[in-house]
Every structure is written in structure tokens, then in C-alpha cells.
Amino acid sequence: MRKTQGLTLILVGNPNAGKSTLFNLLTDGHAKVGNWHGVTVGALEREAKFGEERRNVVDLPGIYSLDAMSLEEKGAVKYIEEHRDAFLLFVSEYSSLERALPLFQKLSRGRKCALVLTKRKMFERAGGVCDIKSLQKSLGIPVLSAEGSKRSLKEKIFALPMREVPKMGELAGYRPPFDRLTRAEKFFNNGFFCILTFLCALLLSFYLTFAPGLLGDFCKELIESFFSETLAGYAENIPSPVLKSFVIDGLLNSIGSVLCFLPQIALLFLFLLLMEESGFLSRLAMHTDGFFSKLGLSGRAVFSLLMGFGCSAAAIMTTRGLDNKRIQRRVILCLPYISCSAKLPVFLTLSASFFKNPFLAVLLLYALGVGIALAVALFLKKDSPPFVMELAPLQVPNPVSVLKGLYFQVKQFIIKLATVIAAFFLLSWVLSSFRWNFTFCPVEESMLASICGGLKFLFAPIGMNDWKIAYAALSGLIAKENVAGALNLFYGGFPYSAASAFAFATFLLTCSPCVSAIAATAREWSAKAAILIALAQTVSALLLSYAVYFLLTGGAVYVAIALVPVIALLIMGKNSVEKVSRRRRHHPKKIHR
């Protein structure tokens, strides 16, 4: 964070009050916003300019009280306490002002502060009434309504008088909204409809994204044919074999093979953004809390797990919103098994080798990942924290917010492709196309072959006694997109059997995430833990892939034969124990003789 001179303005309020939206408005920033309690997970600082005036604006996670429950709230309270000379800009929804007032009153003692009220239309539609002038007079601090143009609101905030108040007063000129639910809220408060809607939306988004001929696949085919036919066609005319190989193999086949998945990745992010913006996620969290409690988690984990479909690193950051460190660490251990968008190119590359319609294959891999994540959570289960969560209001997703979020994700992907991934592919091409004396050569005689030749044993147990496969798999540690690009660089597809493809997919599904996610784990846990976890996951992923290949290539028969005597022993052993059951006060007691 760049430290700036000038007055510091800290945005304080309950979760989902609109602090980050106000932060972006004041600073032209791009803090993540969403209709969910707990989107902001850390302090964000940026300079706001208005003419010659400068303010240092800080966006904090929402807090309900000074006795913070979650990790992010504790961080926010600590920040406020450490910056006693900063100006506090309280941000509250009109509807929640009554509830938020005690917190503001406690924080305002002996500090410079003002109040900004948000979401006026929603408040008035629900029957609420508020007279800003009366409120300002009774509270004793400046009060603004967050409406009007961006410029006028910025002007008002910059013009706020910076004076200390001895004590904030009580409410006046305020009538809360009526206690009534909208039709949509009544519908989604029903667990059956809520979960059914989620499953249908998920299947629909997967179908639109992956099914042949539909939107995602259609756009992917367009980009793919542009790179592999149009541009590659022009590149075929390059007279120099080295330059031709660089353009076709180093650039078009590798970078193009990752870029073509952008439409499908964008569609998945669109689904996630729509869920976030609509307020649906908090209802889903409520209805799945019972299920997650059996795994030692809470409904709050659904947000982090869903974010994992987009990006593991970002999902790990959201775990700060969980109740305590124990739960946070459990969710961090589960998240690598949720297939992030970066794994999508390689899953599609592998499944396209054997299926005309990769939709079911990809769905299976995603479902497998979720299953393994939940199994890990169950394995690690100890206690289950108390679950208390405020539900966000349901609303039609704001198109501007959704498009902004989508634009940000697409931009991040293209930047990553143009920098980290492109650098990796260019380096891979150089190392795989030249000998140590820099003469052009086949890949098996290249520098990369001599460096990585020893890795060929790594995937030999799954029928791929090839260093190039191992290199492709390990390149996923830098960025998962590299795996698909490396496969295309060396083979133009996937050259091994279906059993090897599935075992390889299992490895990629369960191995360590990329360095960004490892770095996020290091920040939230510790560097030592992050590295140990990454190593353990990679080793266990290798062993699991060996087991999967063994089962798929006839080993299942041997396992079934071996299990028969074991199952028989268990059944016979159970029957030989006499059980005497006695009921006392509804607690059955068993005595074995």
C-alpha cells in the first residue's frame, strides 16, 4: 500500500453497508464489491483527490460491534483503535441505522466523524422515513445521503467539517421500514426452492459453458480456429524453420491454446458474479449450514468454496470472513480440491481427446473435486462453531457491478497470459527447441530434455513414461493454465490412453495449487505451513493418480476379489458378538458379552 500525506478517512460500518462502493467512488479504486456480508476481507488504502484537496481513504471489513467474532472484524477493530487521529466516516444502510447506531456511538467518543447513509430507495420502498436535517441535529454529527452524482457526493464528503464530538446523540426524524418480506425473499427462504434454484443455475451455467455448439464452446472454437487456422496458415509461409517454430509452437499453439478458453472462463465468472450480486448466496449459506455443520464447517464456507471455482488464491483470502482460525485452516485445506477456472483449459484438453461432448467429463471432474474437498473437511472435523449470519437483501444484480467485475476478471486473465504464462511458454520453447550450443533440434535432443529427462519416472506408473508430461504437470505450479499450453506445445493434444488421461486429471485435481494460492496460504497461515501443505498435496496427488490408473486398467477386479474375504470377516465378526441393549432415559446402552 502506498502511504500518502493528508487526512486519513476510515470507512466504518456493518458488513454490506456500501463502504467499498463508496471507497471506489472516492478513490476511483476497484475494491471488490458484492451483495454479501464479508466481501471486504482486509484494509485497503488509497488516495482520493478532489481539485487540490487530498484525502487518504481506508476501506475496512464490516464490523457489528467492538467485540468482533470473525478474523476480518478483529483486524478492522484493531485498525480503528491504532489510528486514533483518523476521521471516521460511518457508513450505514438507511434500514440498518437503528441497529448500527450503538456501534457508531461507542466509536465516536472523542473522535472526528460523520455519517453517510446508503440504499435510500430500498428503504423508502419498504416504508421507511428519514429526515436528514432532524437526524443530523439529534446525532450531533454531519449526516449525508449517498445519492446524486459521483462528483457531488465526493464534493460533500470533502467539504465535511472535521470536528470532534464528545458523544453522538440518539435517532430523531427516523421511522424504520415495515417488517415485510418480498415475494422473492419468501420464495428463496424456502430451502427446497433455494437449493433447487442453485443446482439448476449451476447446471445451466455448466451446460452453456461446456456443451458443444453452445455459447462457451462456440466462442472457444472461433478463437481456436483463428489461431490454429488463420494465423497458423499465415505462419506456414515463414521461410525460416526456427522463426516458423517460434511463431507456431512457441506462440500460437501454446498461448492460443490457453486464450481460446477465455469465453468459457468468463461465463463461469459471470455465474459467480450474478450469484454474489443477487444476495442469493446468503440464503444458500443458511440452507446448507446444516450440511456443513456435519463437516465441522458453517454455511459461511459456501462463499469461499464457490469463489474457489473462480480462483483458489482469491477464495483463500475470503476465508478471513470465517469464525475462527481453526475453521479458516480447514477451509484452506479443502480449497485446492475445488477446480479453479485455471484448471479448465487442461480438463477440456484432456476430455476433448476422448469425448465429442466434454460436458459430462468436465462435470464429473468438478463434482469429484467438490466431493474430495468435502471429504477432507469431514476428515479434519473437530468442533463446529456457532452460526450467526445476517442475510443480504435479494436484488436484481446491478448490471454495471457485474460487468465491472467481469471486466476485471477478464483483464486479470489476459494480463496473466501476456506476462507469466507467455514468459513460461517462450522459455519452454527456447529450452525445448535448442541444444546447449543453441543449434535448432528436435525436442528429445534439447536443453529441456537433458534438464528434465530424469522426471520421466514420475508418471510412468500411469502409463506415461515421458518427461514432457511431468514437465507439463509441474508447470502447473506456476499457473495451472501452463499445463494445457505445455501439452499443446509438445503434442498438440493429449497422446496417451483414456485411463492415463483420467489418472492425469486426478493428479491435476488433487495436487498443490499454483504459487499465487500458496502465497495466499502463507499470508493467512504461515510460509512453512503453505510449503508443507503444497508438498503433501503433490505427493498424495501422485499416489492417488497411481491408484486410479491401477483401478482403471484392471486393478479394480483384484481389489474386489481382495475385499470379499475382508467384508465376509466383518459380517461374521459382527454376528458373533451378542449385543444386549438397555434403554435408560432415551440413552441406549450396549453391553457386549
Binding site: 446468503s282 449450514d289 450467526v388
Partner: protein, 73 residues
């Protein structure tokens, strides 16, 4: 009587909240405090989670927490 003994749609006044300080503070900040009126909106599958309306807030709490919120008869 506590929240788990309410029927959907029923309103009641909170008598006391019997839990640790941190949780009590959190419930209080969400309008679930002595003398506040709460309305039970929905109960999730297997009666695991309770959705309440407390003032302007819609709050979901797990059964174990709901059992801590005692109501006036």
C-alpha cells in the same frame, strides 16, 4: 421457552440471551437482545437453522444458538 419452540410466522419478545459474551454481543448487534421483538420466518431442513426477522435484519442462526435465546411466554 426459546426460539426452537416457536412456530413459523410467530412473534415473541426476547427475555434473555444465555451464551458467551462474544456471541451475546453479536446477537445484540443484530437486534436479538432482551426486550426486542423477533419473528420466526423459516426453519431449514431437519430444523438445523432458524431464520428470524429482528427489526430490519434478517438473521440466520443455528439451532444451538437459537436454544440460547429465551423468550417471554
Amino acid at each position: 421457552m426459546n426460539i426452537t419452540q416457536m412456530r413459523c410466522g410467530e412473534r415473541a419478545t426476547v427475555l434473555s440471551v444465555e451464551c458467551d459474551r462474544e456471541l451475546k454481543e453479536r446477537l445484540s448487534s443484530l437486534n436479538i437482545r432482551p426486550n426486542a421483538t423477533v419473528r420466526l420466518v423459516k426453519i431449514s431442513f431437519f430444523r438445523k437453522t432458524y431464520l428470524l426477522r429482528a427489526g430490519s435484519s434478517c438473521v440466520a442462526i443455528r439451532r444451538e444458538v437459537a436454544e440460547c435465546v429465551k423468550l417471554k411466554a
